[in-house]
């Protein structure tokens, strides 16, 4: 049985169950999926060995020549799949943390998670002479440790958003100097590998990477959507949320664990790619015009942004491939400046 309520929220009801749909969010979601598909086909079709889009589709559905199959299934598709999932993970992590801190600047890439992950990876690569796999593990540990440190330092009679952001920015600045110190001490070859890693890159990602991030998204995206219901109420402030029957500390702890987990795994797979976590929830918020937190729209926006940025990183300076982190950083820097000036004008700095 379907009924439609006034406004823009059609509702599906059956017996005592009801699911509310936001028409605009559905349209936006479909548009994002279509745009991502388009960018994906372009990513698979273009490169040193161009393959016509029709052949791309045929190869994906099991047909195609041996060469096409090798280029797409072994070289390009794992990288694309990783981009799709890492983008979604970063978008979700950003949405969760921005909602928790009541501030767009509360996203993981601003409050030090990325820098901490980079420190972990640099220690693994430069000091422990580890492999790229060990760099991933180092990043995972570094990111989680930094997030925990920021959280524990910010906690005092509950976590207050601005305090967490300022502490995070302070820790990020400190870790940045640690990172530079490690880089300047390293020999040139190691430093080059390390620098590529800490920019955030999708170059040479394989099915192993894609599977790792797929597991994380499969488990943590639904968890984040579940947390989103509680976060919607926490957005009204702790007092009002308690009044509405939300278990404030429980929701906050669950959200923090989910947010740190999904972000840390994304970074361990692709490196600390900048600005997707910051921008995706904000872009999603403006597209859906809902007060959020828009977990799923943020995931779709993150996916589209990262796939598009990676396409640009691969093709704009072709044949040279730049790390995708450079592309997101360049676009994101402009976006961050705009966001800051807007926040300041609103008097929230």
């Amino acid at each position: 049985m379907t009924t439609t309520s006034p406004g823009r929220a059609p509702t599906i009801r059956a017996a005592s169950y009801s699911i509310r749909l936001d028409r605009r969010a559905i349209v936006v979601g479909c548009a994002l999926v279509l745009a991502t598909l388009l960018a994906s086909v372009l990513t698979l079709a273009t490169g040193d060995f161009p393959i016509p889009p029709a052949e791309v589709i045929r190869t994906l559905t099991g047909g195609g020549t041996g060469t096409d199959s090798f280029v797409i299934m072994t070289l390009r598709l794992p990288r694309l799949t990783t981009a799709i999932l890492v983008g979604a993970a970063l978008g979700v992590g950003g949405a969760v943390f921005q909602s928790l801190t009541h501030n767009p600047l509360g996203s993981p890439d601003i409050v030090g998670f990325n820098t901490g992950a980079a420190t972990g990876a640099l220690v693994a690569i430069l000091l422990l002479k580890g492999s790229m796999t060990e760099a991933s593990i180092g990043a995972l540990i570094g990111g989680i440790a930094t997030a925990m440190a920021v959280y524990l330092l910010a906690i005092r009679r509950g976590v207050q958003g601005n305090r967490l952001i300022l502490i995070g920015i302070g820790i990020a600045a400190m870790l940045t100097s640690v990172n530079w110190y490690l880089l300047t001490r390293a020999d040139v070859t190691d430093a080059q590998a390390a620098a590529a890693w800490i920019t955030g890159s999708l170059n040479g990602r394989t099915w192993d990477h894609a599977v790792e991030i797929a597991w994380a998204v499969a488990i943590l995206l639904p968890a984040a959507m579940w947390c989103g219901r509680g976060l919607r109420v926490l957005q009204l402030g702790d007092d009002a949320a308690t009044g509405l029957g939300a278990r404030v500390e429980g929701i906050r702890l669950a959200s923090i664990l989910v947010g740190i987990g999904i972000t840390a795994i994304a970074i361990s797979v692709a490196g600390p790619i900048a600005f997707i976590a910051l921008a995706a929830p904000q872009v999603a918020h403006r597209l859906t015009r809902s007060a959020g937190p828009d977990i799923l729209p943020s995931a779709l926006t993150g996916t589209f942004l990262l796939v598009a940025a990676d396409l640009a990183a691969q093709r704009v300076f072709s044949p040279m491939q730049i790390p995708v982190g450079v592309a997101t950083g360049a676009i994101g820097g402009v976006y961050l400046a705009w966001l800051l000036s807007r926040e300041w004008r609103k008097g929230r700095g």
Binding site: T3, S5, G7, A9, T11, R13, S16, Y17, S18, I19, R20, H102, R157, W226, R229, R232, V233, Q235, L236, G237, D238, D239, A240, T242, G243, L244, G245, A246, R247, H285, R289, S290, A291, G292
Partner: protein, 301 residues
């Protein structure tokens, strides 16, 4: 609602607290206090800044855990009840709730339905009805699609009240619902609260700063000082110059409000002494004799 009858503590009460102590850190803000909220009353808590009235309200709403004693809702310790179960019986509108960026009025009011919802019960027909009713009771139905950011302070306060109303709790706790509003909007919000109390039979507990508003609207007035209750009852029975002097350190006269017949607190002209409050304002020598008409009174804060 202007002249509440005196209510005795033996009257039925769903919400009460026994020997509760609340505090932050080392400090006890509310100290071993007993309070009974009479059912269907409009209870107003007043007291000087820092007397613990907001803390008591937060404690009644189980936002703070008591150091001693218990808050009882329907005879059961409020902390032993599931959080959503409490929120279906008792609502709290805090002093400064946050409106998320870009939220519409209808969306914000709808969030009051949280305790009635679940993962698979996101928006029932009852939810829609409750939101529609709450918006028309708060007279904001025509604002449904507007953004909360662009409303005036008075409209915004009505939106928050509507959210609390949509929660459909028999007991509502409101922490200074008239702060930051001009006089006309203060009266508007209080009239609305009185209407909810009389017409819908909701029990309202609110913290107010303005004594004269408190006396006019309360059916049950609770006067606090230093974390304890100094007096409680119908305003007409308990409000005396001595009580106000005790609670606020303010010398005053009490006359009948010509509109409502409730007590009207008129501060004495000139500087009042401040025996209990730590106000450093010097006591001036030109204290005006009792009974003088009050000329432009020197603000003491």
């Amino acid at each position: 609602m202007s002249d509440g009858s005196s209510r005795l503590s033996a009257e039925p009460s769903r919400l009460r607290a026994e020997n509760v102590t609340f505090g932050y850190g080392e400090r006890h803000v509310v100290d071993g206090l007993d309070i009974v909220i009479p059912d269907h009353s409009l209870t107003v808590i007043v007291g000087a800044n820092g007397c613990g009235k907001s803390t008591l309200l937060k404690g009644l709403a189980r936002r703070l855990a008591p150091r001693t004693g218990t808050v009882l809702l329907d005879g059961v310790s409020i902390r032993s009840l599931p959080s959503k179960e409490v929120a279906r019986r008792l609502g709290l509108l805090p002093q400064s709730p946050l409106a998320p960026d870009g939220i519409t009025v209808a969306d914000l009011v709808g969030r009051g339905r949280y305790p009635h919802q679940g993962v698979l019960r996101q928006w029932s027909a009852a939810d829609q009805l409750a939101v529609d009713d709450a918006m028309s009771a708060a007279r904001i139905a025509d604002l449904a699609d507007r953004y909360v950011d662009e409303l005036s302070g008075g409209q915004r306060q009505r939106v928050w009240l509507a959210m609390a109303l949509a929660q459909q709790t028999p007991i509502m706790l409101l922490d200074e619902p008239t702060t930051f509003l001009d006089i006309a909007h203060q009266v508007g919000v209080l009239d609305l609260c009185a209407e909810l109390n009389t017409a819908l039979g909701r029990t309202l507990v609110m913290v107010l700063h303005d004594l004269n508003h408190a006396c006019r609207y309360a059916s049950h007035l609770v006067v606090m000082r230093d974390g304890r209750i100094l007096a409680q009852g119908a305003p007409r029975d308990i409000v005396t110059p001595d009580l106000i002097e005790d609670a606020f350190g303010l010398a005053c006269r009490i006359i009948d409000d010509p509109e409502s017949g409730t007590p009207l607190v008129i501060p004495r002209a000139g500087h009042a002494p401040h025996p209990s409050a730590g106000d450093p304002a010097p006591v001036s020598s030109n204290r005006v004799a009792a009974g003088d008409p009050a000329p432009a009174r020197h603000p003491n804060r």
